[in-house]
Amino acid sequence: MSLIDRYIAEVGRHLPEKNREDIEAEIRSMLEDMIDENSHQTGKPVNDELIAAALEQLGDPKLLAHKYAPARRYLIGPDWYEAYIETLKRVLATALPVVAILTIFIALAQDPIDFVDALGQAFGRVVDVAIGILFWVTAGFVIVEHSDAKPNELERAKTGAWTVAQLPEMPKKRQISVAEALTNIVFITGFTVWVVLPFVQSQGNESVPFLNPDLWQIWLPVFFVLVVLTLIHEVFKLIVGNWTQALMITNVILCLISITYIVALVTTQEIINPAFLATLSDDVVAELRDSARWARWTVNISAVITIGIYVWDMVNSMIMAKRLNRQEPKNAITAEKML
């Protein structure tokens, strides 16, 4: 029955979620009626050939789905809507708190007393970033949606235009959802472009760079290389969708390198520009020492949190890879049983 499953999955993929299950069940019951009837009439047992004939009579699954839910002029239609909303939710939920906390931190570093101003700045940044995310994620999905050809109902006049050979494989259950991988990609890119880069550039003539300029020699280039490698890895996660051995091993290696990098950076380097710290307070020595200590703690805590996230990611990928390994043979057995 796997042909029927694949057909119905393909129809469902193009249906709005609201009554997808019901329509799927109905198509399945109608298909089975038709196949039974054909088998009865021809005296042949139910086999793939008979099933294929029934499916071809019903025609292109995408077209059938669009007859159930006529293609309106969507900005983002049912094919992509769920992935879109999920991605948007995830990106906003991860990016906005980080932006808020970072903005408050930086504002307080420059002026430790004015908490209200820091909150105000954070609010402004959050609104800015939210609008940016909304725009770019939407734009991305609109492009994907509209690069996909929509079937036209009159095409149906050409019978036999669709054959079961065109039926895609059963969509695999993904361990890594499209939204999850996309969120990581958007987040890493956004974080690097909007948060790290402004720090790295010296901010005009009058202000002193926040990061130690010495880092430019090795540490920052290495950081950008790591970002690019991580992004490439995320793209592969998006395409593959499961924690295969290869993906898991590369993930563990990437995480270990990143952890090593962070530990080495924090323990051996002065990350925050001493000249920047010096601008924070007036000439009072005690206060300078205070802000230096404060800055070091901030760096250390961020490092510990980041390392924690890496460790979690590493362990998670190993568990998922193991689970995938165990799952695959089992799937094969059930598929055989169904045939």
């Binding site: 329509i23 069940a25 109905e26 198509i27 019951s29 109608m30 089975e32 009626d33 038709m34 009837e37 009579q57 019903l58 025609g59 077209l63 059938l64 007859k67 159930y68 009159l154 149906r156 006049a157």
Partner: protein
């Protein structure tokens, strides 16, 4: 050759308009999708399944049909459709319109 395609398209449009009336008229007794298809074809109306099934849904969402999943005679569960009160009222009107139209067309074409 080109005319064939034109004729096909016009027939498609012509059928689409009449199909709703045909379906409503056959559902005074409840039917499931495949049995309705048979009933229509027995009376000489060949309908494509990919047209009929979505149409049933649409008529139901317009309130002209009612449906529910049921198991009859230990067969597999099927969705049974039957005309609703509103559907009956609409069908009566459509029937009258159809007779008038058929009459007009007959006079026009002979």
């Amino acid at each position: 050759m080109e005319n064939d395609e034109l004729v096909q398209n016009m027939l498609l449009e012509l059928r689409r308009g009449t199909l709703s009336i045909a379906v409503l008229s056959q559902l005074t007794k409840e039917q499931y999708g495949y049995s309705l298809l048979k009933a229509l074809s027995d009376k000489g109306l060949e309908v494509e399944q990919s047209t009929l099934y979505p149409l049933l849904r649409r008529l139901e969402s317009q309130g002209l049909l009612q449906s529910d999943w049921r198991i009859v005679d230990e067969a597999r569960p099927r969705r049974y459709y039957v005309i609703s009160a509103q559907g009956k009222a609409v069908l009566t009107k459509l029937k009258r319109e159809w007779s008038l139209m058929a009459e007009t067309m007959k006079q026009m074409l002979t």
